[in-house]
Amino acid sequence: MKTTSNLEKVLAAGHFAATGEVGPPRGTDAEAVRKKAGHLVGKVDAVNITDNQTAMVRMSSWAASLIVKQMGLEPNYQMVCRDRNRLAMQSDILGAYALGLNTMLCLSGDHPRFGDHPMAANVHDIDSIQLVAMVRQMCDAGLFQGGAEISNPPKMFIGAAANPFGDPQELRVLRLAKKIAAGADFVQTQCIYDMKRFKEYMHQAHDMGLTEKCYILAGVTPLKSGGMAKYMANKVPGMTVPDEIVKRIAGAPKEAQAEEGIKLCIEQIAEMKEIPGVAGIHLMAIEWEHRAPEILERAGLLPRPQV
Amino acid sequence: MSDFEPIIVAFACEYCAYTAADMAGSLGMSYPPNVKIIRVPCTGKVDTLHLMRALQKGADGVLVAGCYLGDCHYKNGNLRAQQRVGYVSRLLEEIGVGGERVMMTFMSAGQGNVFAQVANEFTEKIRNLGPNPVKLGAGKAAA
């Protein structure tokens, strides 16, 4: 065991992992964090705390992570490359670790154009793969990115994100390989609807031996309505939602669409369990945290193992 | 100003509009004497600068008359002219002189009647717009 991460422990013990996600509030209300995260206590192995998600200013990820940590839930501290240069990133990592955070996820971050500060400088001093490599170097070699030694280096369980569906298709697994090569311990994917293509992706990753080097958690997001299904299908870059899924959700009566979405989610989790190399799921119940326990329950993922 | 007589400069392609203007003459069709023609080999030759200069010097309206789109002797000179007229129009809007003071029109060589009609309509339009504000300002500047 390299770290004290609960998630690492669960995965290392060979359990099918489940992680959740909580977006910090756009304000200073710690209660809001507690309320959202409260639904997940005891229900997931770790919870992702997003970092200025969709390029909107929110409570900082590390602070929200601490609040969650205090609730006895393991935070997965997210960090994007958009807002900080390598100095700020490293200092934040040191601080986070010092305060007890041991699991983090490295991301590029959405472009400022999508958020509420489109005029902001788009930093991108390093990219997400370079971030993974930087954290890996900090932890393993005990060196800052610039080469200086770190006294008492951090030990992070390092995660990266992957999108199995963006273009060019053939680069998707290669990029995954790159992230793993850079030092990712685990990978959480973008939410999956197109199971056929995801299976191909996993198959390829498995063939390349990537699943042995790294835990891959498949992303799932329950569709709340036909409208959401259509939005995901048409508006979200790098996302594919098969027609039959859109039809299935949108085709259900209005009041039954949410239930249909949950049903689909549960079916897919079941399917994912059977895919070689899938080490767990990452449930992104966006603004639906309160229904996460039900989904996990019905998917047979509760109770969570204690390790 | 009731006695306002606009001055209109017309850049006319010699293949079509200039000939049409001559044709208007030989058919005895009258159009307002306000319209004075400058002949060009193709409206594609009419520079943004020429249009601007005419207005700067006090013309109340500028007309560019070329062949029908697709009939240009030089493939797309008239299309280019049309784009330039659009550009000048936007620029005139920006400085408050009025984008309607420039206009592009198309006709064939035999259409003396069209030339006369366009000249009439454009003169009328400019008459309604009133004098080029540059002219009024110049009076003030001199005073």
């Binding site: 590029s108 999508f114 997400s128 060019p168 290669l174 | 400085i95 002189v97 540059v134 300002g137 500047a141």
Partner: protein, 222 residues
């Protein structure tokens, strides 16, 4: 080539308001080619500006001149004899030219007439697109001749990000995904191996982040 676009007339008129006689100075290099500040644009701006003022009853005297290059002191010297006749210089050159002129004629107000945009190439007549960010350390040899710094919205060196869709960038379907282009090109070149190497974090000192840059060639100094 450096690209630029003319400033809004309103801003220019603000600059001009206090003056009665100005020199409108064009540049016969980059800004000529990108239709921002060559002889022709000088003429158009002069016309527009004088009309805009005259309309308000003010006669602004504008003298048009175009230098070969405003970023070389020798060319800028050409106006030394006449500059005293003007209240101000309105430069249509890129920022380099404006500064060279302003640096030479320290007691004369010099105003920029254009917004300097980027180093770009002409995609076709009337369209210019950014191609180089001047980062000082070229990686084009490893990316199939397509620059991730200038052309990827997130400057990702190990792209593409998850937002790449059908060859287009997530920020705008009108913008090509640089990494799609890079990948296509590497495939065509048979050099997909270049992709699997992780490009390390860039040293931004070579770019402007290291402070204002200059190039000195010792052998050429005189």
């Amino acid at each position: 080539m450096i690209t630029a676009v003319r400033k809004p007339l309103e801003e220019i008129m603000g600059f001009a308001a206090p003056y009665s006689r100005v020199l409108l100075l064009g540049c016969n290099e980059c800004v000529t080619v990108c239709y921002a500040g060559g002889r022709k644009e000088v003429g158009i701006l002069a016309s527009a500006l004088s009309m805009a003022f005259l309309k308000e009853g003010k006669k602004l005297d504008i003298v048009e001149q175009t230098l070969e290059r405003q970023c070389d002191p020798e060319y800028v010297e050409e106006i030394a004899q006449t500059i005293d006749q003007y209240d101000a210089v309105f430069s249509m050159a890129c920022g380099c030219g404006v500064q060279t002129v302003a640096g030479r004629y320290k007691d004369k107000p010099v105003f920029p007439m254009v917004n300097t945009m980027f180093m770009g190439a002409s995609e076709r007549q009337g369209v210019w697109a950014e191609r180089c960010a001047g980062c000082g350390e070229c990686v084009l040899g490893r990316t199939g001749g397509i620059c991730p710094v200038a052309r990827c919205s997130k400057r990702i060196f190990n792209g593409p990000c998850g937002g790449s869709t059908k060859g287009k960038c997530e920020i705008d379907p009108g913008v090509d995904c640089a990494w799609q282009l890079i990948w296509d090109r590497l495939k065509a070149l048979g050099r997909t191996d270049l992709y699997s190497e992780i490009m390390p974090a860039k040293d931004w000192r070579s770019a402007k982040d290291g402070g204002p840059r200059r190039i000195v060639r010792e052998d050429l100094l005189s």
